[in-house]
């Protein structure tokens, strides 16, 4: 899944901090960031705004789905 709208990034990050399990950003270049780390959140912001052509996905534990879903969408969704 990917971020629904990057303008909601701060809210998404706050939600990720509340998750029980880890929340990761991963991309096709092999990068993997644990989004509970402040520095990773900062990096994610730069990536989403400055390197927006990179193919990425967000992975998380199933139990945190409800918490994160408002901010995420399937890659195929418009």
């Amino acid at each position: 899944m990917i971020l629904r709208d990057r303008s909601m990034l701060a809210e998404f990050v706050h939600a990720a901090e509340k998750c029980h399990g880890e929340v990761y950003y991963e991309d096709s270049l092999g990068d993997k960031l644990n989004l509970k780390s402040a520095l990773s959140q900062f990096l994610l912001t730069i990536i989403l705004y400055k390197a927006d052509d990179v193919e990425y996905w967000i992975s998380f534990e199933e139990e945190d789905r409800a918490l994160l879903l408002p901010y995420l969408k399937e890659k195929s969704d418009p």
Binding site: L9, V13, D27, D31, F42, L43, T45, I47, Y49, A51
Partner: protein, 403 residues
């Protein structure tokens, strides 16, 4: 001038020196205006952590500037403006790094992530685009912006600081603190080496590091923090100067002199000026020693004269102090310096007089007395012999040039 015009001017003036952006919010933190090209991205960074909640809570009760720091050391200056109607504002200047949490430190932290090259370059590029301000510089901006908004003059002690447990935890994680200390230590070592070498480029280096650096929290009071940091700096400079060849006695006398000066400083600007004078003084002395053909005894004499100009030292006193005989000093000094000791002392007193004349706080009479001239007319006569005009005319001429 209208508030909007004042702010526009301030914004442009800041941009002359730093790519520091200006943000206008309403009191609910809805963005109204910004000159930042990456508005959404930087807003997202600002809203991460508890910066938003902290600022909203602060703005409800305060109107003085608050210095905000987020989880990774990025900083902002925020000033709430309350008006009688509902159109209050929060003005923000930032983001920037402070010199003790420089972008190099964050870059080092990024390097540990082992990011792919394209992402690393993007992150590095963004970090390098952010300005790095010394503590004194952003204090000044906060004070000036507040004046722009309210017309009221405040001092550093009126500034507030974000006190968030969460931000504190994140802003200074153990690993990062270690990296900061290493970064500051490296900077400090460069500084010490430059003093030891009498390197006249030291100001360029000092401009890159704040007066306070990451010396640690030396006081809860910002004024005292700056003064304590300056005292530490004086000690480092004096010890490095001794290693560079300056006699310990001269170095320690200078240390006492500048310690007193620090305590006498009333404003941040005074402290800045004294800091620069102190740095140049130590470095120039070491430079002279290392690059001069003058022998050590004569160098000691010159240093002694410089330090005791206001006592108008006699050859007899200098001789006792340096433990060389009067006749030896007299002959040796003339050989090496090309002028008798008395003439040299007079030249140096008159040079000091020009320094004091630039400072309008003292009258000509007071300067004459301070430099132990026997009378004002005697001071004026000697001054005119060298500079062609009497001291008051010289001051007027140089005040004109300074305008």
């Amino acid at each position: 001038m209208e508030l909007e015009n004042r702010l526009a001017l301030f914004r442009e003036m800041v941009l002359c020196c730093h790519t520091l952006y200006f943000w206008t919010y309403d009191l609910e933190l809805n963005l109204l205006d910004s000159n930042c090209p990456d508005v959404e991205m930087v807003q997202n960074i600002f809203h991460m952590g508890d910066g938003r909640e902290t600022l909203l809570a602060y703005a409800r009760e305060h109107s003085k500037p608050i210095i905000m720091s987020n989880m990774f050391g990025l900083m902002w200056i925020a000033i709430p403006q309350h008006t009688e109607n509902a159109w209050g504002r929060i003005y923000i200047l930032g983001p920037f790094f402070t010199a003790d949490l420089s972008e190099q430190v964050l870059e080092a932290a990024l390097a540990r992530f082992k990011l792919s090259e394209p992402l690393y370059q993007q992150a590095e590029h963004f970090l390098q685009s952010l300005p790095v301000l010394s503590q004194s510089r952003y204090f000044e901006y906060a004070i000036m912006l507040y004046y722009c908004i309210t017309g009221e003059r405040i001092s550093v002690s009126d500034l507030h600081y974000q006190e968030s447990e969460k931000a504190e935890q994140h802003a200074r994680p153990a690993a990062k603190r270690t990296a900061d200390i290493h970064g500051t230590y490296a900077m400090e070592q460069t500084m010490v080496r430059m003093v030891r070498e009498g390197n006249l480029n030291i100001q360029k280096h000092m401009n890159r590091i704040a007066v306070t650096g990451t010396l640690g929290k030396l006081s809860k009071d910002p004024d005292r923090q700056m003064k304590n940091a300056m005292l530490v700096c004086i000690i480092l400079f004096s010890r490095a100067a001794i290693e560079g060849g300056l006699s310990p006695e001269i170095a320690l006398t200078l240390t006492d002199h500048y310690f007193q000066g620090v305590e006498d400083c009333k404003t941040m600007q005074d402290l800045q000026t004294l800091s620069k004078t102190m740095q140049n003084d130590f470095v120039m002395r070491v430079h002279r020693i290392r690059n001069s053909a003058v022998s050590k005894p004569i160098q000691e004499v010159c240093d002694y004269i410089d330090l005791h100009l206001e006592e108008n030292p006699s050859l007899n006193v200098i001789s006792k102090h340096t433990k060389y005989s009067e006749s030896y000093l007299s002959r040796k000094f003339r050989e090496e310096m090309g002028v008798p000791v008395g003439t040299f002392i007079m030249q140096r007193r008159l040079e000091r007089a020009t320094d004091l004349l630039r400072n309008n706080k003292l009258t000509v009479k007071e300067i004459g007395e301070r430099l132990k001239f026997c009378s004002s007319s005697n001071f004026s006569k000697h001054f005119k012999d060298v500079y062609g005009v009497v001291p008051s005319e010289w001051r007027e001429q140089h005040a004109e040039k300074g305008k």
